[in-house]
């Protein structure tokens, strides 16, 4: 039905059984926790609010705008839902959307539904939340912080979810890592711009018409720190895994060794670690990963530092908001 998000809805047959089951387990845990959290927050309003908003996100994915040459950009909605509803409710809403898409419209498979929910409802939401909170902490409560934060959150969530999808395909041996990762990353870097622009448009509209909705969602982060940390871990993991997989001279060899490890449970894990760690920094891949980690840590160190300094400058009333 929708060509662009379809690139992220994995159909059945494309993921190995091990990857599918592993991601189902994570998904069940997170969605179960989200159900409880949102239930505690909304009480008996949970069913009507979550149901109608899930329908709204589903319908919102129909909205599109012409880009060029017959292609069009449209909304995916993970970042918008996260910013408006908070991480747990957004996870729940997107889980519903993705499940209905798979069950009724065959947009994405049934056995790989866990993986699709993981990518689009868990990874995308977690990362969007982390980015949006970080930008808000950095620039404080200026009028444009929502715009910048919204754009970045939308772009990063699309990009990271796409990289996650590519990695899962590579792990399953259905797409060579050195092709899937750059291809998915490249396409979704563009799709992410469209997503970012729409998200900003929506946030601008809402801040003009119902500013209270935006404020209330920012003021009540439910276990926000946990989600923030999880987002950081996800980004770090991808910073490690993506170059490892895509820079490997033969992506397939890497996949095959992983595939063998998952299939036969022969413990080449112990072989893998010395192979990748012991050669030291001469190893080009390792150097890339180290650089990526150090870079990420520095960026977040600076972000935290600035946020910390701001805390002391602003008046105590603001503290509750941050």
């Amino acid at each position: 039905m929708l060509p662009a998000p379809l690139a992220m809805h994995i159909p059945d047959g494309f993921l190995s059984i091990q990857v599918s089951i592993f991601l189902w387990l994570i998904t069940i845990l997170v969605v179960g926790y989200a159900l409880k959290r949102v239930g505690a927050d909304l009480g008996e309003r949970q069913v009507p609010i979550m149901g109608v908003l899930a329908a709204a996100i589903f319908a919102g994915q129909m909205l599109n705008f012409a880009v060029a040459g017959g292609t069009s950009g449209h909304l995916i909605g993970a970042a918008l839902a996260t910013i408006l509803l908070g991480p747990w409710a957004a996870t729940l809403v997107l889980t519903c959307v993705i499940t209905i898409q798979a069950l009724i419209f065959q947009d994405g498979g049934l056995l790989v539904l866990g993986a699709n929910i993981f990518n689009m409802a868990i990874v995308a939401v977690t990362v969007a939340y982390m980015v949006f909170r970080t930008v808000n902490r950095l620039v404080g409560r200026r009028s444009w912080s929502i715009i910048v934060g919204g754009f970045l959150a939308a772009w990063v969530s699309v990009e990271v979810a796409a990289l996650g999808t590519a990695l899962e395909l590579a792990f399953s041996g259905t797409s060579p890592a050195n092709i899937a990762i750059p291809a998915m990353g490249g396409i979704h870097a563009l799709i992410g711009i469209g997503e970012g622009l729409i998200t900003v448009g929506a946030l601008a509209f809402l801040s003009a018409s119902r500013r209270d909705l935006l404020k209330s969602s920012q003021a009540a982060p439910i276990r926000g720190r946990l989600v923030w940390a999880a987002g950081l871990v996800l980004v770090l993991l991808l910073a490690v895994a993506s170059p490892l997989a895509s820079r490997h001279p033969d992506g397939l060899m890497w996949v095959a060794s992983r595939y063998g490890f998952l299939n036969n449970q022969q413990n080449p894990l112990f072989k893998l670690i010395p192979h990748y760690l012991f050669p030291g920094v001469q190893n080009k891949t390792l150097a890339t990963i180290l650089a990526a980690i150090i870079g990420t840590v520095i960026v977040f160190g600076v972000a935290f530092g600035v946020a910390y300094l701001r805390r002391h400058k602003t008046n105590p009333g603001d503290d509750q908001q941050v």
């Binding site: 039905m1 379809l6 994995i10 159909p11 059945d12 047959g13 494309f14 190995s16 059984i17 599918s20 969605v31 159900l35 008996e44 309003r45 949970q46 069913v47 009507p48 609010i49 979550m50 149901g51 109608v52 329908a55 709204a56 589903f58 319908a59 919102g60 129909m62 909205l63 599109n64 705008f65 060029a68 909605g77 519903c96 499940t99 209905i100 069950l103 009724i104 419209f105 065959q106 947009d107 498979g109 049934l110 056995l111 395909l169 041996g173 259905t174 797409s175 050195n178 622009l197 729409i198 998200t199 900003v200 448009g201 601008a204 509209f205 809402l206 018409s209 909705l213 992506g251 397939l252």
Partner: protein
């Protein structure tokens, strides 16, 4: 646009439609699981699996054209597996010069690619038969029986009820936009703003849709409360599964596991 036609459910009076939804859901998932587990290149097993799903399609009276047309949805994703032909080492199939490089297609790569494509296509057909032969309330019953959290099932139910209302709302927004957008016939005349302006307009529509949904959910909640809703999802007890349907379940599971065993015996 009447998006009600989006609903793939097609009422018929076939044995597949009458089959207990719980058994249908389980069998669909097990069929897809079998597809996923069958080793690469087990062509005869793929043909048997195809025969199986084809006969289910024929029994269901859905129309082969309908199922096959819908199953073409998975085709774009097959592109993701296409590079396998070139990257899996093995007996060379052909060598293609691309500029300064030569690209080598291998026989095992081709085999793997086609295996993935066929598995995905067969799984897609099973999912289509499930969605087209089971009404949504029946699917909700099946999910409840399979221990999907009750709250989540209630949210699915409410979402489904308002899905078409909100899709209609979204199409009204789009119709309003196109009604306000002029298009010049003059050659070379640029219509509409920049891409980011257009995206911003679409974003405004998305925000509008969200706001309407939010307000609607409040009204729905009030209406539910005034009718006695207290947050508890109440539902009728699940009916018993008829013995004949148990037989169908067990026979089908037997056939699928024999096929799987066969596949592992000869191609594992």
């Amino acid at each position: 646009m009447h998006v009600h036609f989006l609903d793939p459910y097609r009422p018929r009076n076939s044995p597949i439609h009458r089959l207990d939804p719980r058994i249908k859901l389980v069998l669909t998932v097990v069929f897809i699981l079998t597809n996923t587990l069958v080793p690469t290149g087990a062509w005869p097993v793929y043909i048997l699996l195809f025969a199986l799903i084809l006969s289910v399609e024929l029994i269901s009276e859905l129309g082969l054209g309908f199922v096959l047309k819908r199953s073409s949805l998975a085709i774009p994703f097959v592109l993701a597996a296409l590079p396998l032909i070139l990257t899996i080492p093995g007996k060379t199939l052909f060598i293609l010069p691309v500029g300064p490089w030569t690209v080598q297609a291998s026989y095992p790569g081709l085999e793997r690619f086609f295996s993935i494509a066929i598995k995905s296509w067969l799984s897609m057909q099973a999912a289509i038969v499930l969605a087209a032969s089971t009404s949504f309330p029946e699917l909700l019953v099946a999910m409840r029986a399979l221990r999907v959290p009750r709250l989540l099932v209630s949210i699915f139910g409410l979402m489904w009820r308002y899905l078409f209302v909100l899709v209609d709302e979204a199409s009204r927004l789009m119709r309003a936009r196109s009604a306000r957008s002029g298009k010049s016939e003059a050659p070379g005349a640029k219509t509409g703003g920049s891409i980011s302006w257009r995206a911003g307009v679409t974003g405004g529509m998305a925000g509008n849709l969200f706001l309407r949904a939010f307000e609607r959910s409040d009204r729905i909640y009030m209406a539910m409360v005034s009718r006695g809703y207290d947050g508890e999802a109440r539902s009728l007890p699940l009916p018993n599964i008829r013995p004949a349907h148990w037989v169908i379940l067990i026979t089908s599971l037997g056939v699928l596991s024999i096929l799987l065993g066969f596949a592992y015996l000869f191609w594992g």
